[in-house]
Amino acid sequence: MDFSLLANAIIAGLLLGGFYAAVTAGISISFGMLDIVNIAHPAFIIVGSYIAYIVNATFGIDPILASIIVLPAFYALGAAVYQVYYLAFEKRGQEALRGLAFFFGVLFVTEVVLLLVFGVDYRSVNAVYIGPSLHLGSVELPLRLLVPFLFAAAMFAALQIFLSRTFIGRAVMAVSQDPLALRLMAVNPTRIKRIAFGISIATASLAGAFLIIIQPVIPSVGRDYIGRVFAICVLGGLGSLPGTVIAALLLGVLESLTSTYYGPSWAPAVSFGILLLTLAVRPSGLLGR
């Protein structure tokens, strides 16, 4: 047994898992806490990637920095999308079928528009940490995986603090459990949901930057992530940020091991396979409520 191969696969998997957690953070909020099945989330992430790409290629600004700069725009976009969703579907009680179809349409249209604008060439970004790696003994830590991992961890810490320590954050946690109680506290659940959804899409901006640092991007990459994102969400337990992190790390490692020992063409099946398995065996996930 080649220990260093195994170790590297696991380390890469963990670092990748951290990135997956960042990608899933948004869904953890929108699906886990707000019960909105935003399957278009990966599309927003890809948009984030392309924006990071443009800013990086045009101005030479670091992609992560670029994504932080456009964060407010993504937040506003998220709030706007929620408003449409609310007026068109939630209010009428038709989220089940039509809300899903709506987001599916958004996912699709976004991908096609990106395709028309950017074409099918792979795009990537330039940054000092893409390329070199840290070496710890026989283990290699690629910086292009490590840097997003660290920033993702920071993002998660910030989210967790926001949700548990601030009033609005706690209101977000409450809105899925008891919207009536919120109203009685003179807090408008719709406003809270709009803020939360805005934050959810804002995370996509960062996640998009992480994505294009880790791998080159074409518009269809978004669809590869739908499975991962929902697999992580369901495995971790809806609405649980810590659960998301654990599930993401687990998935990252499993995918990395599969890729290393069985070849990368099997990787997509891992996440979806886990999803189907979890739904069949323990739908509430590891830490689900």
Partner: protein
């Protein structure tokens, strides 16, 4: 009208269409017409589970591809009997193979139906949302399996060579077109029959309120499984002739996202509450896309479909059928049901 008469009427229309194409059209009409009819089947099939029961299936491409790849498999076995089958069975196999396309359509439908049963059994006890996500998962898992399955060509693809001429119909595409007319009639008749039967009521209660449905004695899980199997089987049957239509099958074409999008967009734009909706949606959108592909580009036509889907879902949730009923004040589906 009673179902047998309905089928007769449809058959007459189909025959007339075929005749029209033969005398006035060219082969392109048949190729384009095949695609539109294929969408009629897919849209109608999707609507049985999506429109009638309210359970969204994002994995139509998966079921379609099961049909397509079961044909590829059976065709390849037929071509390589002596290589893949043990000696003792070779005699029997040479008698059975090559299978006729109608047979392969039925087999494709059965395979897809079984997969639908399995998926449904695993996920239909959960909320509709989880079922929808699971169908997405299913399509990807299936594609990954196919990509890694060398026998049916894997990622390199497989060739399926149809005979150039066939008795009665002449060109093979004429035969395929006729087959697709038959499948479309089957799908439409199925959907219509369901609507007017006890099953239709059951499906509607699932869509409206599953808890209340159970309290009224409706066996919701059993009905949902029925819808899933039926829907999946029809999609598989639509996919089974595909290799013969296209000649070269690779995973990206069989599992193409446009199948998933169209099979959702067409019923939602046409109208999900009756069998007429998917038919209208398929004909309109299918024809639109054929025109757009030729005049603009194939990518742009997908954009149009996506935008129409979003637009209709927000503005006209009951689709074209719903708009028609509002504008012309026709008797609603509700009261029509009370008459039967």
């Amino acid at each position: 009208m009673r179902t047998p008469i309905f089928i007769l009427v449809q058959a007459v229309i189909g025959l007339a269409l075929y005749g029209l194409f033969i005398f006035y059209g060219n082969d392109y009409w048949f190729y384009a017409g095949y695609t539109v009819l294929q969408f009629v089947v897919l849209a109608t099939a999707w609507n049985i589970l999506g429109g009638y029961c309210g359970y969204v299936n994002f994995g139509s491409a998966g079921f379609f591809a099961i049909g397509a790849y079961s044909t590829v498999f059976l065709y390849t076995v037929g071509q390589q009997i002596d290589d893949v089958v043990p000696e003792s069975l070779q005699g029997v196999m040479h008698l059975i193979f090559p299978l006729s396309l109608p047979t392969m359509i039925v087999i494709g439908g059965i395979c897809a139906g079984l997969v639908g049963l399995g998926t449904g059994y695993l996920t239909l006890r959960l909320r509709g949302v989880f079922f929808a996500i699971a169908t997405l998962a299913l399509a990807v898992v299936l594609e990954t399996l196919v990509v890694n399955w060398e026998f049916v060509g894997g990622s390199r693809g497989a060739y399926v060579i149809p005979p150039s001429k066939i008795p009665i119909f002449g060109a093979y595409i004429h035969f395929l077109f006729a087959l697709m007319i038959v499948l479309a009639i089957v799908a439409l008749a199925c959907a219509r029959l369901i609507e007017r039967s006890r099953l239709g009521y059951g499906f509607a209660t699932i869509r409206d309120d599953e808890l209340a449905a159970e309290a009224c004695g409706v066996p919701t899980l059993r009905l949902k499984l029925t819808a899933t199997v039926l829907s999946g089987a029809l999609m598989g049957m639509a996919g089974a002739p595909f290799p013969y239509y296209i000649g070269y099958v690779e995973p990206s074409s069989a599992f193409n996202l446009s199948y998933a999008v169209n099979s959702i967009a067409m019923p939602m734009i046409g109208g999900t509450t009756s069998w007429v909706g998917p038919l209208i949606g398929a004909i309109l959108l299918g024809t639109l896309q054929q025109l757009a592909t030729v005049t603009i580009s194939s990518v742009a036509n997908l954009l149009i479909v996506g935008l129409l889907l979003i637009g209709f879902v927000i503005v006209a949730p009951n689709g074209i059928v719903g708009l028609w009923q509002d504008w012309f004040g026709k008797k609603s589906v509700k009261s029509r049901r009370s008459e039967t």
